[in-house]
């Protein structure tokens, strides 16, 4: 551990309610000793690993208290990075947190590079691949919701779920292998039904985990919400209102927006990647035409479509076409400009094309945003995206999802092999394959485990 002590603000600036400054390295404790006074009066340096103290962060140069805070200490190698680690947790705003960091830097720490804590943890063997990735998610998480998933994963809830699933498989594989490797020992035979039942159960559980992957992705990357509609209906106005800033240009000239504009936004805990697009219409202008093409392409990629229409001008074929072509998507329909006289009614729309989509009539110029936000959030949570986030294991990495899908495919093969009446060693290929794939997520050596378990569970050998 010759590396320099590093320090960084561990919470994203301006987002969380508490601010955390984290230090890792040989001198972390020395630095804490100089800048933290515990309420009890004991010395931070003398604290045992995994303990916390309430107290004050002070600036030793000016002798002033910066803020009240909690000091958390972890001693290497039993810390998150494998090195000595201290954390200052305070409630102060950005300024206070910055001040704490500056003090630590002046006392000898070096500013950490992005992801450096994780890198150290990873390199010191404190994290397996899945955990390391989860941490990177923590670092990057845009909203508290996704933070919760990432933290959860960090604590191994995905690993735990997978381990539990794997246990059932191990039991089966170990029996299969014992029967194969010890043909002359009287190990009870396996019944086809019994095997099929276990395999089916495991497949079911894998499916449930895989199903969370889409949610996981959403939580990690944000829900892709595409704003679309014909020109001049108020799409850019909608983006600006939701962001509460003049991000996109708004004019009364149709075709103002010609390229996509993307912004990230936290809508009551749901991370959205909000995308404003060019208004849909036939155009001779090359640039605009490209923009329209791009917009149409985005419909396909969208997790959610916000279709804006103008209630103050007659319905056009574009309005109808958009409605028809986005039928399969999660959608909110906004009928804008309700401050102006309404020239068409909902009945003028094709009911089948409209489907179940919630309709919000509003004025982006002067109306309240709440009904729109309610509609979006309601839609997303009805889609099952929100509820399950609280404390459940969720698959957030594409790599994990792939591994789970491969495990599932292997088990399906095993099941098919089994149902075809083929012998054990062929069934075993799928079973072991599935175990190996699940092992990829947590980095476990499957083969040795199987052998150890054979000996632990069966009385074999002469």
């Amino acid at each position: 551990m010759t590396e320099q002590t590093i320090a960084a603000i561990a919470t994203a600036v301006g987002e969380a309610g508490i601010g955390i400054v984290r230090l890792s390295g040989k001198e972390a404790f020395d630095i804490a000793e100089k800048m933290f006074v515990t309420k009890r009066g004991d010395s931070p340096k003398s604290l045992p690993g995994y303990s916390a103290r309430y107290g004050r962060v002070v600036d030793p140069y000016q002798g002033r208290t910066i803020d009240e805070a909690i000091l958390l200490v972890m001693r290497g190698p039993y810390s998150y990075t494998g090195e000595d680690v201290v954390e200052f947790q305070c409630h102060g705003g950005v300024v206070v947190v910055q001040k704490i960091l500056e003090t630590a830097l002046r006392l000898g720490a070096r500013m950490a590079e992005p992801g450096e804590f994780t890198k150290r943890a990873f390199l010191n063997g404190r994290l397996d691949l899945s955990q390391a990735e989860a941490v990177i998610d923590v670092v990057r998480s845009r909203t508290e919701e996704s933070l919760a998933v990432a933290v959860d994963q960090l604590e191994g809830s995905l690993s735990k779920r997978i381990s539990a699933i794997r246990e059932q498989l191990y039991d089966l594989v170990v029996r299969v292998e014992a029967i194969i490797d010890y043909p002359e020992d009287d190990i009870p035979e396996l019944e086809v039904d019994e095997m099929a039942e276990v395999i089916r159960t495991v497949i079911g559980e894998l499916e449930r985990l895989i199903a969370t992957a889409d949610q996981g992705k959403v939580l990690r990357e944000g829900l892709k919400a595409v704003i679309t509609g014909k020109p001049n209906v108020g799409k850019s106005s909608l983006l600006n209102r939701l962001l509460d800033e003049q991000r996109a240009l708004v004019t009364d000239i149709p075709g103002t927006t010609r390229d996509t504009i993307e912004e990230v936004l936290n809508l009551r805990g749901i991370p959205l990647r909000l995308i404003d697009t060019a208004g849909i219409r036939e155009s001779d202008d090359v640039v605009e035409r490209l923009g329209v093409e791009r917009a149409v392409q985005l419909w396909g990629e969208a997790d959610l479509i916000i279709h804006v229409m103008d209630g103050s001008v007659p319905l056009s074929s574009e309005d109808r076409e958009i409605l028809a072509r986005t039928r399969d998507k999660l959608r909110v329909v906004v009928i804008n400009k309700s401050d102006l006289p309404r020239v068409w009614s909902l009945d003028d729309l094709d009911a089948r094309d409209l489907g179940e989509a919630p309709v919000v009539e509003m004025s982006l110029l002067e109306g309240e945003l709440t009904p729109l936000v309610d509609a979006v959030v309601g839609l997303v949570s009805k889609g099952g995206i929100r509820e399950s986030t609280a404390s459940q294991a969720i698959v957030t990495r594409a790599r994990h999802k792939t591994a789970l899908e491969e495990a599932k495919a292997d088990l399906e093969n095993a099941l098919e092999t089994l149902s075809m009446g083929l012998p054990l060693d062929l069934i075993s290929v799928g079973l072991q394959g599935a175990l190996e794939h699940l092992g990829e997520i947590t980095g476990e050596t499957v083969r040795e485990n199987i052998i150890d378990r054979i000996f632990a569970q069966f009385c074999i050998g002469k």
Binding site: F122, G125, P183, C459
Partner: protein
Amino acid sequence: MSLHDRYDVIVVGAGHAGCEAGLAAAKMGKRTAVLTLSLDNVALLPCNPSIGGSGKAALVREVDALGGEMGKNCDATLMQGRMLNTRKGPAVQSLRVQLDRKLYQRRMKYVLETTPNLFLKEGLVTRLLVENGHAAGVKLQDGTTLYSDVVILATGTYLDSEIHIGEVRYSGAPQGQRPSIDLARNLRDLLPIVRFKTGTPPRVNLRSLDYSKLSKLEGESPLEGFSFETGSIEIEQVPCWVTYTTEETHKIIRDNLHRAAMYSGAITGPGPRYCPSIESKIVQFPDKTSHQVFIEPEGWQTNEGYLSGLSTSMPTELQVEILRTVPGLENAEIMRWAYAIEYDCLDPFSLYSSLMTKEIAGLFCAGQINGTSGYEEAAAQGIIAGINAVKYLNGEDPVIIPRSQAYIGVMIDDLVTKGTNEPYRIMTSRAEHRLYLRMDNADARLTPLGYELGLISEERYAAFQKKQEQIELEVKRLKETPVGGDTETNIILRRLGTAELRHGVTLAELLRRPEISYAHLGELGELPELPENVRKSVEILVKYEGYLKKQEAAIERFEKMEAKLLPENVDYAGIKGLSREAAERLNMVKPRSLGQAARISGVTPADVNVLIIFLETQKRGGSVDE
């Protein structure tokens, strides 16, 4: 030094490892001495008179495919044989044979005696000569010294071995032989040594058994032999017998556990989990009320019988009492006591994959001395050590068979990569690519290598090529021959108990049905005249094609990692980012490839990533530090 005392290769030991090592080196043209404690005990089977079984049978076939002797020796001296696991799939079928112990030894000795370049000698080695870190020869108890640039140690369980029978312990070796004490002391100064133990059951006079209480286990005839040269074996076979221990047996053992050498603390070395003594079985599996006992005859011309399943380190009087409680064995006359044996062996981390020691150039080790257990395991290492000894003398790269190609590769890689803390036994579950490592295709996997090495004769190689050709042609024929769609065929299919065909398919597709065998196809049209082993391979290749294809793809991926070679002289402690444990392990194992490194315990995926980065920076000529 006379020419007389000078050899190219000296093999210490004429057990299963030593015999194969000596034969391989001699056949590859090297003047080879094979030394043994006693010429009367060449290729001794000190435990059960049986070879083969799950995993082990594949090893025997592999040794044979490379040109080794074990398979042929079994085929020539067996008394019974059975194919195990026939219903559990193509990859795990395994032959197991009962041998006439004496015949086995006699034939192997004769083969050694008649092999050109091979000099079989009695003599007890007391010291290894090492000059400047290179093997130089051996000193014998009789005062002579033999010189060579390569020494292969294949000394089995004899190194400072100690026999335990209950409270009694004495310095001794299997079958009343001498232990090898001076050599053991000498090796302790040279190499990292550990102490292992194993045990063997009592032998009884077969006339004293009550056969009415035993069930009979017959062999199979005709039997397909181990060797690809043998073909089918049709001899009169002897049966084995089966009985079971009783609650009473278990009670005696439980009440007297403190008297077993294994539990009294007299033995400290770990024993093999897969060859547990009856006392360990009872301690470990208290709920099992009875354990199987096989009674195996030891030869045509002897009445000795081996009690498989009753290995014990109990004192003699309890051995008698234990047998009294086993149905059929109540009045058994014990001829040899069961005993446990403790012995020195190498920590296999001290070996390269070539089986040469890292410390002493030119010193190879094979067999039980490397921490394994079992005749087949020993023979398989023996042939590799013999081959690589010659490669070393010729200044050529060693032969390292990848895990994906043979159980031999799996075993050696396990040993040198993971080490072992108990006597190591091969198991099919240890192999990642079991479907490919079958008995039936061992020749396809290894005979080209054996031929290239000069261990396979022209004649045999021609036969091998013919076989491969026959297989290929017949597979092709099956894939191209249409069948079905007519009522006549459907009548036959119905009779065979399989679904009718509404339209035509190929014979290959039909064969893929689980209930259809290759022989069944004969009912639908004439089958070409082909040897049984060709038919068998064809059946497997066609029936399981989909599975085999997938395995091939997996092997390809696996071999990619194996092909990422690590430089030989790296100090892993100097690589930033590796955990200390990983660096230590890597320095100890000195893996050849990234694939091997990843298998070392204590090397985490994170460490592997660091190694990948390291390789990358090396490739770019950069330094390892930031």
